[in-house]
C-alpha cells in the first residue's frame, strides 16, 4: 500500500493544527481553503486564549479551569474532552511560543496573563489586542515551512463541495471547485478533516463573524449523513458596534471599565444623545440588575437589550431602532484611552465618530455557534480522552473528522470567553493525532475507490452549477440572504418562543424554494462569485432549519438558548433549606433529567430528524443550580 494521504478542509487554527500534526507523522496532506489560509476568520480574535500557567500568584489550578468551562457551558459539554483540553492548554501555549507567537510579556520576559469573563483568576494569554491573528500566523508559518519542504500541498481558492463516500459509507475523499476556473474535480484521500469554522453568517449582517463563516461546508457533510449536534445554541454578544455590513465586537472591557448602557426614556427621541438630560435617560441594566449593573453576564445583558429595543420599542438608530447607547463620555479620557485604546480605534475607524465625545451605538450580535458537527471521543482511565484513539474527533461517518468551531464539543450551551481559540487549536491537534491512528489502523487491502463514485459525484455537482447558471427567477441570492439573516435575528435570536420558531421554520422553507428559483445575475464561467455564494446560501438555509428545529424542540432555558415560557426563576428571598427554594431545586433537577442532553440532528428528505444523547458528566456532576445572588 502506498502512503495514505489526508485532505484537510479549512486553514484556520483548527485546520492548520491538524495539518501540522499529520505532517509531523509523515503523511502527505492536501489543504483546501476558500482563500489564502492566513485570511481565515481566526485572525479576528482579539481577547486571548486560556491556559492555567498560574504566573500571577493566585494558586490557579487546572481543576478550576475545567470547572469554569463545564459550568460556563451549563453542563452540556461532554466532560472528558473538556478535562483533556484544559490539561493540555499550557503545553499548547508553550508550543505556540516556540513558533514565535508574540505573546505579551511581563517585565521579566515571561508570558503575561489577564482576567477574562466568567473566571476569577488571570488565566488568559494574549498578544496585544490581536491574539487570534498572532496565533494563526504562528501555525501558518509552520505550514508554509512544511509546504516548502514538499510535505503539504495547499489548494487555496478551492471550495469543498461534497464528500466521496464508498459503498460502505466510508469517506474516501472530496469533490471541490476551483473558485476561478469553476472546474469541479474529485480528490481521493484515505481520511478527511473538516475544519471549516463557524456559521455566524446565518444571522448576517448582525453577526461579528467574517463573511466566510457560513457553515456551508459543515452543512454539506450533514446533508451526506454526518450528524449535527446542539445547533440551537448560539451565543449573542451584547455589545457589538452596528455596521451596515457587519457588527464589530466592542469588548466586554468597555463596560468593565465603567461604560454605561442607556436609551432615551421617550420612544423615538431624536435629540443628539449628549443633549438628553440625565433624568430623561433609562439606564436599564442598572435598573434591571441592581447588584451587577452594567457588568451583568453576557447573556443577561443581551436579553435586556433585546427587551428594551424589541419589546419596549425604546431602541435608537436607523435600522428599525434596535440600538442602544454604550456611553464612555463621562469617564476620564486619559484613563480610558490607555485601557481601551484598541477598541476605541476600531470605533473611530469604522464609525468615524470618537467614543470619547459621543456615546457608541451598539446591539447584541450573533457571535459563536456552540453547536456543529457531532464528534466522538474515547474516555481514558484517568477520565480524560484516550491519547491517539482514532475515535477522538471522528464524526459518525468513518474516515471523516471535524475540529474547530465547526464541531460541537467543549462549549456546551455557552462558551467561556477565550476558550474557543483554545478549543480550535486543541481540537485541531487531537483530530490530527486521531487521523494518524486511523491511518495506521487501515486494512492494507482496502482497495481503491470504484471510479464510478467520483465520476457520479462530480457530474452531480456540475449539474447543480449548471442549474444555478440557467435559473432566471425573480430573486437574487444576495437579497435572499438578507432575508434569512433578518429572519434568524428576529425569530431564532436572543429570545425565542415556540410560535415564532414555528413560523420561522415555515419561512425558512419558503426561502429554500425561492432560492431554487433565483437568478444569479451573471453567467461568466470565470471567478463567478455569485455562483459560489448561491450554493453556500442553499446550505445555510438547510442549517438554519436545523437551528430552528432544535430550538423549537428544546423547551427550556439553557445558556445561550432562552425561552421565557419555560424559565424557572429562583424564588426571591429564599435560600437552600427554605421549602420554596427546595421546591425550586426539585424543578431544576427535573428539568435537567429531561433536557440535560445533546441534541442530534440527522438529515432526512423531510427536514432534520432530532434525537437526544446522554452527556458524559463523569468529571463534575451538576448538583447545584446556578445562583448568582
Amino acid at each position: 500500500m502506498s502512503t495514505p494521504n489526508v485532505i484537510v478542509i479549512g486553514g484556520g487554527l483548527g485546520g492548520l493544527w491538524a495539518t501540522l500534526r499529520i505532517a509531523d507523522a509523515g503523511f502527505p496532506i492536501t489543504l483546501f481553503s476558500l482563500f489564502e489560509v492566513k485570511r481565515s476568520h481566526s485572525v479576528c480574535a482579539q481577547g486571548g486564549i486560556n491556559a492555567v500557567l498560574d504566573t500571577k500568584g493566585q494558586h490557579d489550578s487546572i481543576r478550576q479551569h475545567i470547572i469554569d468551562t463545564i459550568k460556563g457551558g451549563e453542563y452540556l459539554a461532554n466532560q472528558p474532552p473538556v478535562k483533556a483540553m484544559c490539561e493540555d492548554a499550557p503545553g499548547l501555549i508553550h508550543t505556540f511560543e516556540r513558533m514565535g507567537v508574540t505573546f505579551s510579556r511581563t517585565p521579566e520576559g515571561l508570558l503575561d496573563q489577564r482576567l477574562f469573563g466568567g473566571v476569577k483568576n488571570k488565566r488568559t494569554c494574549f498578544a496585544g489586542a490581536s491574539t487570534g491573528q498572532q496565533l494563526l500566523y504562528g501555525v501558518d508559518q509552520q505550514v508554509r515551512r512544511l509546504e516548502s519542504e514538499g510535505k503539504v500541498v495547499k489548494h487555496e481558492w478551492w471550495e469543498f463541495l461534497s464528500l466521496l463516500l464508498d459503498a460502505d459509507g466510508v469517506c474516501r475523499g472530496i469533490v471541490a471547485m476551483d473558485l476561478n476556473s469553476l472546474e469541479v474535480r474529485a480528490f481521493t484521500a484515505d481520511a478527511v478533516v473538516v475544519a471549516s469554522g463557524g456559521m455566524g453568517q446565518l444571522y448576517a449582517p448582525k453577526s461579528t463573524t467574517s463573511t466566510n463563516s457560513t457553515g456551508a461546508a459543515a452543512s454539506r457533510c450533514y446533508r451526506q449523513g454526518a450528524w449535527m449536534a446542539n445547533a440551537e445554541f448560539f451565543q449573542f454578544h451584547p455589545t457589538a458596534m452596528m455596521g451596515h455590513d457587519k457588527n464589530r465586537l466592542m469588548s466586554e472591557a468597555a463596560r468593565g471599565e465603567g461604560g454605561r448602557i442607556w436609551v432615551p426614556k421617550t420612544p423615538g427621541d431624536r435629540r443628539p444623545p449628549k443633549t438628553i438630560p440625565e433624568a430623561e435617560r433609562f439606564y436599564f441594566l442598572e435598573e434591571f440588575f441592581p447588584a451587577y449593573g452594567n457588568t451583568v453576564a453576557r447573556d443577561e445583558a443581551a436579553r435586556a437589550i433585546w427587551t428594551v429595543t424589541r419589546q419596549m420599542g425604546l431602541g435608537i438608530g436607523g435600522d428599525g431602532g434596535d440600538r442602544v447607547y454604550l456611553d464612555l463620555t463621562h469617564l476620564d479620557a486619559a484613563f480610558i484611552g490607555a485601557r481601551l485604546g484598541a477598541i476605541l480605534e476600531i470605533y473611530r475607524k469604522f464609525a468615524g465618530v470618537d467614543p470619547m465625545t459621543e456615546p457608541m451605538e451598539i446591539f447584541p450580535a450573533a457571535h459563536y455557534g456552540m453547536g456543529g458537527l457531532w464528534v466522538d471521543f474515547e474516555r481514558s482511565a484517568d477520565g480524560g480522552i484516550q491519547p491517539d484513539s482514532p475515535r477522538n474527533h471522528a464524526t459518525n461517518i468513518p474516515g471523516l473528522y471535524a475540529c474547530g468551531e465547526c464541531d460541537y464539543a467543549y462549549h456546551g450551551a455557552n462558551r467561556l470567553g477565550a476558550n474557543s481559540l483554545l478549543s480550535a487549536s486543541y481540537s485541531g491537534r487531537v483530530a490530527g493525532e486521531s487521523v494518524v491512528s486511523y491511518l495506521k489502523g487501515l486494512a492494507v487491502d482496502r482497495g481503491g475507490l470504484a471510479p464510478a463514485i467520483p465520476q457520479a459525484e462530480v457530474a452531480c455537482q456540475q449539474g447543480i452549477n449548471a442549474e444555478l447558471m440557467r435559473a432566471e427567477g425573480a430573486d437574487t441570492p444576495y437579497l435572499i440572504q438578507k432575508e434569512l439573516g433578518a429572519l434568524m435575528t428576529t425569530k431564532v435570536g436572543v429570545v425565542r418562543s415556540n410560535p415564532e420558531l414555528t413560523s420561522a421554520l415555515g419561512e425558512i422553507q419558503v426561502l429554500q424554494e425561492r432560492l431554487g428559483n433565483a437568478r444569479l445575475g451573471e453567467s461568466s464561467t470565470w471567478a463567478n462569485q455569485s455562483l459560489a455564494f448561491a450554493r453556500q446560501l442553499g446550505d445555510m438555509i438547510e442549517l438554519a432549519a436545523v437551528v430552528a428545529q432544535g430550538a423549537l424542540a428544546r423547551d427550556e432555558c439553557r445558556g445561550a438558548h432562552y425561552k421565557p415560557a419555560f424559565h424557572i426563576p429562583i424564588p426571591e428571598g429564599t435560600f437552600a433549606g427554605d421549602p420554596e427554594f427546595e421546591a425550586y431545586r426539585d424543578r431544576w433537577h427535573a428539568n435537567n433529567a429531561q433536557w440535560l442532553k445533546t441534541t442530534i440532528a440527522e438529515h432526512t428528505r423531510d427536514g432534520p430528524k432530532l434525537s437526544y444523547q446522554e452527556v458524559d458528566l463523569s468529571v463534575y456532576a451538576p448538583t447545584e443550580p446556578r445562583d448568582y445572588r
Partner: protein
Amino acid sequence: MTEQPIHLRIRRQDRPDSAPYWQEFTIPGHPDHNIVSLLMALRENPVTVSGERVDPIVWEHNCMEEVCGSCAMLINGVPRPSCSALVAELDQPIRLEPLPKFPVVRDLLVDRRRIDQGLKQVKAWIRIDGVWDTHEGAPRIGPDAWAADYLYSRCMSCGCCMAACPQFGPHSAFLGPAPLAQARLMNAHPTGRYDKTERLHAIMADGGLSDCGNAQNCVRVCPKEIPLTTAIGELGRQTTVQLLKDLFGPR
C-alpha cells in the same frame, strides 16, 4: 454625514488576459458606509448609471475589520484596505481599481501569491523540531523587544506597501517590503536567529535588499503602520556584517 447618492467609478476586467474598462454607478448613501459595504449593496442590484444591468463586481473580503488583509484595492489612487475606507471621508466620484503590481484575476480581485513566495524565499518562520510538547518553556523575551517585534507581527499581507513600491512589480524580481520586514522579525527571535545567516543570504541575492530604492512609499501606505523602512535599515546593517563574516569569518 451624507445621505446624498454616492458616485462610483470602477475599473473592471473580465479575465486575467482581457482588456480593462470602466463603469459608473450611483448608489443611495448611508452614513456608515465603507467601500466593502458599498460593494455589497451594489451587488444586490448592479445597474450602471446608464441603466445597464451588469455582472456583480468581483472583489475579495472576509473580516471587514481591517485584520485579514484581503480587501485591499486602489481607492482614489491610494492602495488601502477597502473595509476601513469610510465613504464619508472620500472625495467623489470614488475611483476603485485593482491593487496594482499584482496580476488581476477579475475586476478588483488580484493574485497576491508573490507575497507568499517572498515569505518562503526569506524563510519567514521559526524552525522548530515539531509541534509536540517539549515540556519546556520557550526563551524569555523582554517587554521592549516584544514591543518592537509586535509591530512587525501585525503585517496582514495586504500588499498595499508592495503596490506603492516603485521597485516592486512584474518588471522586477524585487521581493518587496513586506517579506523583508518579516525577515527582520524572524531574525530578532531568540530561536529564529539560528537561521539568520540563511535569511540574510536570501536577501543578499538577486531581488533582495539592494533593489530597494529607499523611496519610502511603503511606510506611508501601510494601514498597520509597520515601520518598513526601519526594518530595511536594520537588515542593511545585518547584511553588511554578514558580508564581512562571509569574506573574513571562520568557515
